[in-house]
């Protein structure tokens, strides 16, 4: 079983510009068994500042998992994904793309940029619970993740 230290809790970075969707995700994440610390940023620039611990995010913790919407203001999800996966330190963090796009090209493009996986954004609260529960269960209990810096 994976090595996250139980004392440290698990850090999740949610990059999502829709307040409603973010609220649903955070609510669903908090229903799980794990002790999760969820940080939410609303655009791609903020996401990179957070990950690089710049400015107001100087004290941010390295995420164990990133949930990333593709369609974001300022810097879009593809750019964030590309930057993360090109960075020697950040590239190992699993990135789950959340997309409302049913578009094969969008999905393929995300995988080409080394997204760890793509998940369709749920349509309602029950689906959010189901999908987020499965993400949490798979990525935070079964899968091994590289130990953070």
């Amino acid at each position: 079983m994976p090595h996250s230290s139980p004392d440290r809790g698990v850090e999740v970075l949610l990059v999502e510009d829709s307040r409603d969707d973010a609220d649903l995700m955070v609510a669903a994440l908090s229903e799980g068994e794990l002790r999760l610390y969820v940080s939410v940023v609303q655009d791609g620039e903020e996401a990179m500042s957070y990950l690089r611990r710049q400015g107001p995010y100087a004290a941010s913790r390295r995420p164990d998992l990133i949930l990333l919407d593709l369609h974001l203001p300022r810097k879009n999800g593809y750019e964030v994904l590309a930057e993360v996966k090109a960075d020697d330190d950040l590239r190992r963090i699993p990135v789950v793309i959340m997309t409302s796009s049913d578009n094969d090209r969008a999905i393929n493009a995300a995988y080409d940029l080394h997204a760890n996986c793509c998940v369709c954004k749920p349509a309602n609260q029950d689906e959010f619970r189901e999908v987020v529960g499965k993400i949490e269960r798979f990525w935070l209990t079964f899968a091994q993740r590289p130990r953070g810096a």
């Binding site: 590239r91 999905i107 995988y111 996986c117 793509c118 499965k134 079964f142």
Partner: protein, 149 residues
Amino acid sequence: MSPLFHGGRPIEILLVEDNIDEAEMTLDVLRDGRIRNHVHWVEDGEDALEFLRRHGRHCAAPRPDLILLDLRLPRMSGQEVLAEIKENPAWRRIPVVIMTASDDEKDILAAYDKHANCYITKPVDFDKFMEAVRSIEDFWLTIVRLPAA
């Protein structure tokens, strides 16, 4: 939420595993899964690449939607197979789930550095092994949007 992806066709899985018992357990779980799938089983890395190239006895092979890859293989190591898959523009987008005995941090880091989509350490316990394979089925075959061919 029932994902009607792939136009309703079965999900094609390439299983690269040299241990017959573990391969059969994996096949059993996937066969009982909710989502229709075909598992193509090869026992070493060279054969896995031949499958992807559609060479020789694999000339009619479908393109896999998902690859389950053991790291400890005869002849060619799983890390080498992973590198070949992720460096090839035609194959790089196929999600690769590492499923291997090792929980060594070096192996985990090396796999994620080569863009393995995720890494699962095979439990030694039979029931836990089955549970791990079910977790793969429950996540990758149900809510993940796999890349289109």
